[in-house]
Symmetry: C2
Subunit: 322 residues, 2 copies
């Protein structure tokens, strides 16, 4: 990083640091006073793994922010501030940092948070971004992955599979595919935070594919999870993908195994069904009951006839080969 | 990242997360309750930029932790916990993560902090590490870079240039050079934190070379800084390097421009001179007065005759070409 580049970054990122705590990014550290417990999460993106080299740089910035916002939502928290570590490739024009900063600025305004500090280093490798984000609880608790209970329902927000479909469209160069935006700029479900604090057992966001993440949720709670495949919510693009497939079950599994959905997966007592249906209407956000938890371990998926479906490797995989 | 690798990481890193707040690394986020203001810092290392591909993996882990500890020391804080983002190269054996974790465990015990969470992703690029660290103030304030005042002295801890000399030794393959350890495993000056809270004006750690960092400190305070080159503290290896050089001034500038020292640079009122000399004795840590602050901008370096020394490009540079 040359002195020139340092000052470019300073100039471009400093306006994002709008709080006193950030010390104008002119110090080595921020000094933050949190009111109450803090949810702390960190998620990283790597070019060629979590986003494509050709993705617009401002959506790359926003994706980096949003995957962390999604974690906060799952923990029933609202964003407060974040730290940014930027590994900037030597070959990528430093001028693109302006677009990167603009993407962050837009999302800071939408989601209400500010840059608190960070580090920018040059790398001979791919563009990589690590964000650490702080959140404040919207209720009295942060639902843990380990809080699932036997007999609870399993729910998911939004639709499943659009992250993966969007990636496939990007790889094909299909710029008009309706799921492309979902891949490039996922929609963190901040509006669900209060509902999760009040009604969820366990909760987590779905980043590595619904099947892999369901398994993790169950495993963290020392339980088994049953998923009713045909109940999974899909977008029109997802339904079209299944309809066009020679093997519809394989197509459903593919959508459920693909990453980058950034929806919320949570468990809830059956007594919450009506309340959650009402919340879904109130929020204008689909909440779908897709399965349940029982004793044991692992994941069981069922088809429309209630038959168990053989699961191949579920991967813990971003489709680009992480 | 395959499911197997995920479980390896889980197994190896989980013991580092010894606090309830970390939720055993089995959740997407940590839930932390801080008592009072929190110093938050983040610093990243990239293989081939901030460390060498051949550096022992456990010292790489420790360097990643220590560069952040050094930032805390400069802000008069003690460590509380940290988040780790690990970009692990596909080609590097996952088994090395055990050694990496061991290095962290050793330093956690030495410095008293725990892993709170993190993210591990695979990368087609170099091994990269980002750590975000939280600290608690040891006094009533965190010295800011912007708090230098006209007429204050400029002090530095320890010795200057051993980071750079250690790097040169590593590049030559000289495994017995006394400065090698300084490059690979810098010594964060945690013992200085309380003294800085009480006696320093501005303070920062020296990571990008004393000359570049002095300039940053002065600039953050809208002042000019004068450095008396012959007063800089050097190790026997540093003094030998100067003695062997055909151009001793150039050699002094090289040591002062090299990175990776991780000493503390701070300003203090002249009234503090006796107290700081006593602190130096009490701590068994060299504290050397190397210059002063005046109105204006930029850096002026002087030789033994009090003549101004021409400064080339000071770089904001890790010597490997960042």
């Amino acid at each position: 990083m040359s002195a020139d580049e340092f000052s470019i970054i300073q100039t471009l990122l400093a306006p994002l640091a709008s709080t006193v705590a950030a010390r104008g990014l002119r110090d080595d550290a921020a000094l933050v006073e949190f009111a109450g417990p803090v949810v702390v999460t960190t998620d990283a993106l790597v070019e060629g793994v979590h986003f494509l080299p050709g993705d617009p740089i401002h959506t790359v910035a926003q994706k980096a922010l949003r995957v962390n916002l999604s974690d906060l939502a799952a923990k029933a928290a609202r964003p407060v501030g974040y730290l940014l570590t930027l590994f900037w490739p030597r070959a990528r024009p430093a001028a693109q940092i302006a677009e990167f900063a603009q993407g962050l600025a837009q999302d800071q305004a939408i989601f209400g948070c500010a840059l608190l500090g960070g580090d920018t280093v040059s790398t001979p490798g791919p563009l990589s971004i690590s964000i650490t984000m702080f959140g404040a609880l919207v209720g009295v608790r942060a639902p843990d992955r380990r809080e699932a209970k036997v007999g609870q329902d399993v729910w998911v927000s939004g639709v499943i599979g659009d992250g993966w479909l969007g990636l496939q469209a990007a790889l094909r160069g299909d710029a008009s595919h309706p799921a492309l935006a979902h891949y490039r700029r996922p929609q963190p479900r901040m509006e669900l935070a209060a509902c999760l604090a009040a009604r969820a057992g366990a909760a987590m966001d779905v980043s590595d594919g619904l099947l892999a993440d369901s398994t993790k949720l169950a495993s963290a709670s020392d339980l088994a999870i049953e998923i009713d495949l045909p109940s999974l919510p899909h977008s029109p693009a997802g339904l079209a993908y299944i309809a066009a497939a020679s093997d519809p079950i394989a197509a459903r599994l593919q959508l459920a195994a693909g990453g980058d959905d950034f929806e919320i997966l949570f468990s809830a007592d059956p007594a919450q069904r009506d309340a959650l249906a009402q919340q879904s209407l109130d929020l204008g956000l689909a909440l779908t009951r897709i399965g349940s938890l029982r004793t044991g371990s692992g994941l069981l998926a069922f088809d429309a006839q209630g038959q168990s479906v053989a699961l191949g490797t579920l991967g813990f995989a971003h489709a680009l080969g992480c």
